[in-house]
């Protein structure tokens, strides 16, 4: 088995410094870090110089990077971010469960399960074909307008439902890839030991599948963190909307910069965690294979 996890193939992989397997001692590592730091600073300085020497820079600075406005708008955007955080944490839990259910249904064997499998495929195909923003508008404004008794009307409820539906379809495919990545011999051996199809899934396939796709799931989670902001079209006041409101009333866009910084602050830890996890998993597999 290859010890290179698939993430390594994207530039960088677990270490930002270079290929993870290059032999290097502690000293060499420090040197590499210094070079990386120096070239980063150089890059930033050159980029800044290019931006700052632009003729339109004063106007852009005044409208996008205005400290006076930043101080006013930052607390508003921060207040909105709290709603985003609650939304994506809740949505992620539901998505992980719903998507797993869909993926399992899609992976069921046997002709008797054909209708279920077909439904899962149709659901995934349809939902992935609809832009999220349309799904949010359709559910958020459409269903409540039907005035059905007992059906919630809330914009937040339907906006989040739309996002959960959309992400569940994508995430189900991630799970399915994980299930299919488990070698066929695992299923065969489990069945030959007398495990039922359900037990095989529960104890053999799904645990291995999930482990294989955790980096991909975390990647989806990072994406979700930003996409929950889309519910703003239903009038919900989360971080981006607060920045929007400020921009529209003062004509100053510093709020957008504040929102971007806050979203980065939320997603960077998850990205680092993904790298750390991938690296640890790789080492574990290496030691098992050794």
């Amino acid at each position: 088995m290859s010890d290179r996890s698939s993430l390594d193939e994207f530039g960088g992989g677990p270490s930002l410094l270079g290929p993870p397997h290059a032999p290097r001692g502690r000293e060499e590592g420090t040197r590499a870090a210094l070079i990386a730091a120096a070239s980063t600073v150089l890059f930033v300085v050159v980029a800044l110089w290019a931006i700052l020497s632009s003729e339109a820079w004063p106007a852009v600075q005044n409208q996008f990077f205005n400290w006076d406005h930043f101080v006013i708008v930052f607390p508003k955007v921060l207040g909105g971010l709290w709603l985003d955080i609650k939304m994506f944490l809740f949505a992620e839990v539901v998505i992980l469960a719903v998507a797993l259910a869909i993926a399992i249904i899609r992976s069921l064997r046997g002709p008797a399960f054909f209708p279920l499998r077909a439904l899962a495929v149709i659901f995934i195909d349809l939902v992935r074909g609809i832009p999220v923003i349309l799904l949010i508008l359709l559910l958020g404004f459409g269903i409540p307008a039907l005035q059905l008794p007992g059906v919630p009307k809330g914009a937040l409820f339907w906006g989040l439902t739309a996002i959960i539906i959309s992400y569940s379809a994508y995430t189900a495919e991630v799970y399915r890839a994980g299930i299919e990545s488990v070698h066929e011999s695992q299923r065969m051996s489990a069945r030959s030991l007398g495990l039922t199809q359900g037990q095989t899934l529960r104890y053999v396939l799904v645990p291995q599948a999930i482990r294989n796709v955790i980096p991909a799931l975390l990647n989806g989670f990072v994406s979700l963190q930003k996409d929950v902001a889309l519910v703003l079209i239903l009038g919900i006041r989360e971080a981006v909307r607060e920045a929007d409101i400020y921009a529209a009333s003062t004509f100053n866009y510093t709020g957008y910069v504040a929102a971007a910084l806050l979203f980065i602050a939320v997603s960077v830890p998850v990205a680092r965690f993904t790298d750390w996890y991938t690296e640890r998993d790789r080492q574990k597999k290496q030691s098992v294979n050794a």
């Binding site: 410094l17 590592g29 508008l137 404004f141 409101i245 004509f251």
Partner: protein, 296 residues
């Protein structure tokens, strides 16, 4: 570990970058008083985007009674010259000496219109309220209309009979982004639930239909159109007492420092004194009156 150190370096560099960007932010203040021009306002001398034509931007869709009449004639068709803002533009063009055919319309969203960068139009009008904060970024003409805020609800709403602002404390209200209506809800009505904010008028209607908001706050003329056409069965429950807030004045929006402003202001002044502005108001914006007043 080296990885961590590099990450910190990058974060630090980014922070430094932002600090440099925000540092020394000096906004050049401008003198935009509605000074009547003493310089030449001949078409040949005007500083125009396209020589010989007056390029005017408005929103898309441009809706009545600003462009087109309340019963829908000329909807989104400023060249029809119907509607208050469309009519105003042709009147200004006439004052400046342009033929009707020399007025060229272009469409641009609210946000794009105020972004830094090229402004490929001479002025923009889509009910921009004049505020001092905005005036730092762009230039405004002198006001061409002063509006009051109105409340739109369904007749069976408990808020349909609101008499005072206190009656609205428990209402979930909606407003369009960037409007004075939103400021009005937040600073004057101050309801217990913060208002929902929508990009477009159409989203307001959708939310109203979906029962997600109890009522809309918008400027009175737009209220006429919304109740007549957009949100079927809705009514204007009342207009808010003018004294309750700062007057909401609409102005033409220009790129910062555009020398055209004084010429247009002179034209506006002429239209005001010869009654054209009042005539346009009477034709498109004042509809029978009889709207109850909601007091502060």
């Amino acid at each position: 570990m080296a990885t961590r150190r590099t990450t910190w370096t990058i974060l630090l560099a980014l922070l430094l970058a932002f600090a440099m960007l925000t540092a020394a932010c000096s906004s050049d203040s401008d003198e935009t008083g509605p000074t009547a021009a003493s310089g030449s306002c001949d078409i040949a001398d005007l500083n125009l985007v396209t020589a010989g034509t007056l390029t005017v931007a408005t929103g898309e869709p441009a809706f009545p009674p600003w462009v087109g009449t309340t019963d829908g004639e000329g909807f989104d068709d400023p060249e029809s010259q119907l509607g208050f803002e469309a009519g105003l533009v042709y009147a200004i063009a006439g004052e400046l000496g342009f033929a009707d055919a020399d007025v060229v319309w272009t469409r641009i969203g609210f946000n794009e219109a105020i972004a830094p960068g090229d402004k490929p139009w001479d002025f923009n009008l889509q009910q921009y309220s004049i505020t001092s904060e905005r005036d730092e970024i762009v230039d405004f003409s002198s006001p061409y209309y002063v509006t009051s805020q109105a409340l739109v609800v369904y007749p069976d709403s408990p808020y349909a009979s609101a008499k005072t602002i206190d009656d609205l404390k428990d209402a979930i209200l909606g407003a369009q982004i960037g409007t004075t209506s939103l400021d009005f809800i937040e600073n004057v009505i101050k309801p217990n639930t913060e208002p929902n904010v929508y990009d477009e008028n159409v989203d307001l209607e959708a939310a109203m239909n979906a029962g997600q908001i109890d009522g809309l706050v918008l400027d009175l003329p737009t209220g006429y159109f919304v109740t007549a056409v957009q949100v079927e069965g809705s009514i204007i429950a009342g207009q808010f007492e003018a004294e309750a807030a700062e007057p909401d004045e609409y102005g033409l929006l220009f790129a910062e420092g555009n020398p055209l402003v004084p010429c247009v202001n002179t034209a506006l002044e002429a239209l005001r004194s010869n009654g054209t502005l009042q005539e346009l108001e009477d034709t498109y914006l004042t509809q029978g009156g009889g709207i109850p007043i909601i007091t502060g």
